[in-house]
């Protein structure tokens, strides 16, 4: 992280006092012991208590905090529930942690306009709970959905197992209210479709808390599919499972969910949950088909036929809602299940073109030998999003470093085969230094100039996403070459 600013640290008492004037009572936390609660997010390998934590309750307070911080050049790190897996909410030693947890109300359920307006601290599942009595739900379902907040989902553009069919956060958020670092309230989108001007809403979603603080979110809600059925299909190779997935999609079927688990992940999940997973396969494919009964029946038969054609070693279709949930229980508990067989694990999040799955897993096997660490794989198969879980023991000297190195190598491999560093967890602090494997300096400078348009002093969540801190004045400079540039080989009329 950037070196803490000693001058700011020296003014800590004064800063705390000023913040207390804005957010009275218990809304400002400066006691060292209490600040420990905020020292990390879901990426627990990194820990840093903030200089001070502020828990505002109103947008007006957020405005005042931002104005104060901008005027006094104090850094701000926004935080929702702190479930980020990439260190997006990791505090700064010389920064204010702006915890939005008290913004926890649903403001409006508007069925006629198919949307819900919520404060950013409402949990992802809280939105569905508010509308499920009406047969509606909010589609993106990151696995942390019990805890993670909609504001955090906006910051990270969170996905989930259903996003191949129903989209990521960005496809399901239609409006936000945000506060800029200067303390301006800006509304982007709303209950209507599209918006005039640039799609700044689209830019805010997935901006990892670096462009503004979200104070209100309007999301699209959808009718809940009337039925769903899950298939458990075993394969003797992961490639076989991958080919089956390609044929399902190539055959025109977009399942509600489609997951692959490799042998180690299946074994761990089965031992934990007893979902009835076949233990004699190298890869287990879970396909969920949702919709009306006629559609589910029809597609189930089609997927069964495709699976058979690809030499599935077993194929079971859920016969009841309880069984469907049981099939998923194993997958959903894959991370904690792996946690039972290894003291620690490190979860990666690259995306690859699906056709490369065989090659990538093969090379990962070789890396296992080289790094002396094992990997269990779960895989959002429909969209090629890999979650290799690297097993290690933090108590053994050097293992964490090796795990991190192993993870970096996996992500480099993802990029090399035409994929990307992160499918849904975000760059944060974790993958920051790998950004140059995907982007060159010009690409990164262009991204940073966008940051400058929102936050010219780099006060919002600095140190995340980009390998280097932003120098706005320098980046904005235009070098016009003296004399006229010629391009003699071009036709001109």
């Amino acid at each position: 992280m950037p070196e803490p600013d000693r001058a700011v640290l020296g003014r800590r008492a004064e800063i705390v006092k000023a913040l207390r004037r804005i957010v009275p009572g218990e809304g400002v936390i400066d006691h060292e012991r209490e600040l420990r609660a905020f020292e990390s997010d879901g990426l627990t390998a990194y820990r840093q208590p903030p200089m001070v934590a502020v828990l505002p309750e109103t947008t007006a307070q957020v405005v005042e905090v931002m104005r104060y911080c901008a005027a006094n050049k104090v850094k701000v790190v926004p935080r929702g529930a702190g479930t980020s897996l990439s260190g997006g909410a990791l505090p700064l030693a010389d920064g204010v942690l702006l915890a939005m947890g008290k913004f926890n109300k649903i403001l409006d359920v508007d069925v006629a306009n198919r949307c819900v307006v919520a404060q950013p601290g409402v949990t992802n599942l809280g939105i569905t709970h508010a509308v499920q009595g009406l047969g509606l739900y909010y589609a993106p379902d990151p696995s942390s959905q019990i805890a993670c907040t909609i504001g955090g989902n906006v910051a990270e553009n969170s996905g989930g197992v259903h996003c191949l069919k129903y989209g990521l956060t960005t496809n399901n958020v239609i409006g936000i209210e945000m506060v800029t670092i200067e303390g301006e309230i800006v509304r982007l989108g709303g209950k209507h479709f599209d918006a005039a001007g640039y799609d700044l809403l689209g830019v805010m979603v997935g901006s990892e808390g670096m462009l503004g603080v979200v104070t209100e979110v309007t999301v699209r809600i959808l009718p809940k599919p009337p039925g769903a059925r899950a298939l458990l299909i075993g394969f003797s190779t992961v490639e076989g499972a991958g080919d089956c997935v390609a044929d399902v999609i190539g055959g025109g079927i977009i399942p509600g969910g489609m997951e692959i688990m490799d042998r180690p992940a299946v074994a761990a999940a089965e031992a934990f949950v007893h979902a009835g997973y076949p233990l004699d396969c190298e890869a287990l494919l879970i396909v969920e088909l949702d919709g009306c009964e006629a559609e589910v029946d029809h597609l189930t038969a089609e997927v069964e036929t495709i699976a058979e054609r690809h030499g599935a070693t077993s194929c079971r279709t859920s016969q009841s809602e309880a069984e469907r949930l049981l099939f998923w229980a194993g997958r959903k508990a894959a991370f904690p299940a792996v946690g039972r067989i290894s003291p620690d694990y490190y979860c990666m999040d690259g995306t690859i073109p699906r056709r490369e799955i065989g090659r990538v897993l093969q090379q990962m096997k070789q890396m296992e030998a080289r790094f002396g660490l094992r990997v269990a794989n779960v895989f959002h198969a429909g969209d090629g999003n890999l979650h290799p879980l690297i097993l290690y023991d933090a108590n053994k000297p050097g293992e964490l470093d090796r795990a991190e190195e192993f993870g970096s190598e996996i992500l480099r491999l993802c990029v090399r085969v035409g994929g990307v560093l992160t499918g849904e967890h975000g760059v944060g602090i974790e993958k920051r230094d790998l950004m140059d494997t995907m982007f060159n300096e010009i690409d990164l400078n262009q991204q940073q100039r966008l940051k400058c348009a929102f936050d010219s002093d780099s006060l919002l969540n600095p140190g995340k996403v980009f390998p280097q801190l932003c120098r706005c004045a320098e980046l904005g400079r235009m070098h016009v070459h003296a004399g006229k540039v010629a391009f003699p080989d071009l036709p001109r009329f």
């Binding site: 006629a112 996905g159 960005t170 799609d199 690859i352 100039r449």
Partner: protein, 406 residues
Amino acid sequence: MSLLEPSDAKQIAEMVSWVVAEGDTLEIVAGGTKRALGRPMKTDHVLDVSRLAGVVEYEAAELVLTAQPGEPLALINAELAKKRQILAFEPPDWRALLGAEGEQTLGGVIACNLAGSRRVRAGSARDYILGFSAVNGFGEIWKAGGKVVKNVTGYDMCKLQAGAYGTLSALTEVTIKVMPKPETACTVVLHGLADEVAIPVLANALNSPFEVSGAAHLPATAARRSKVSVVAAGLGAATVMRLEGPRPSVVYRTTALESLVGRGARLNEAETEAFWSEVGAVQPFLAQGSRIVWRLCPTPSQAPSVVHSILSALQSAEFYFDWGGGLIWLSLDSEEAGPDAGAGIVRPVVKTAGGHATLVVAPEAIRASVPVFEPLSAGLAQLTARVKSGFDPRGVLNPGRMQEGP
């Protein structure tokens, strides 16, 4: 003024650098079918990217297609049809509406972020761009996003590029997500509903679990102009809902939807295709003569009151609804609309209803004096100007296309 016709990204970068050095400006075109959309521009040069054409890569099973911006949409659609896939956002054909000829291109559709009736279910062009490379106003070739369907690495520049009307960068290559073509489609038509009855019916249909993928309402005047006889012969308004998917599913859902909203007429697959392309194209429903055309995006439930307010002030107003009321196509007699194209009446009404209005068809002089796109609030305008400056500080690319100024 010169016409620049680059054949690759490097040449575009050189040309932009040259234009910057000269202190000149550029209009970016390919097929040129949307030149009349937006504010008219007077630039020193025209950058025609038509030669950057071709499908670079198409992996049907990965749902990914990469093409150059000048690739005609018709060719992309033909390529996709071979694998029974489509652009799910259903880019509409506005050539007749805008009085344009020529080929629509991928770059144009993305630059203008267009979407058809499936918007209510599938989203817009912006929801399908996975990655791109482009030349910014510094004359640099840069890229963002990727070639896979799930990616959150870095800021989502794809959203920004969509709908920027070429004012931030000139695209040189685009990767989009494609989707399977629904096996079949059917449309349910209810006749004779008043606007304020029809819009709640559409909302009800969209909230039902029957996966409605098109929700439009045509008052009698518009319905009568349809070439699809079932719609036109209803002697009154037509409220229309589309269902798409596997055959057994569509059969079931059609009956189920009818039991929810009432039984009407049905359009078969061919009629469904013909009808919804009319809805996307707008022009088939317009009155003859000199018309001003507005595209209104209000909060959907407010749609009937929006048209009611406008009608009380402008007698020549004709309109129809798409997107369950979230889109209103409004046409006005030019004379009655006056020199501001009716903006003084239309804009406040839509704004009150929570939404925005775009002036799509009007003479050039009017589009130069009346803001084509909804004017931005002061704070948003400043932010927008800073964003533009981060991509194109000299205002070289499509200056003034979206709003007055560089």
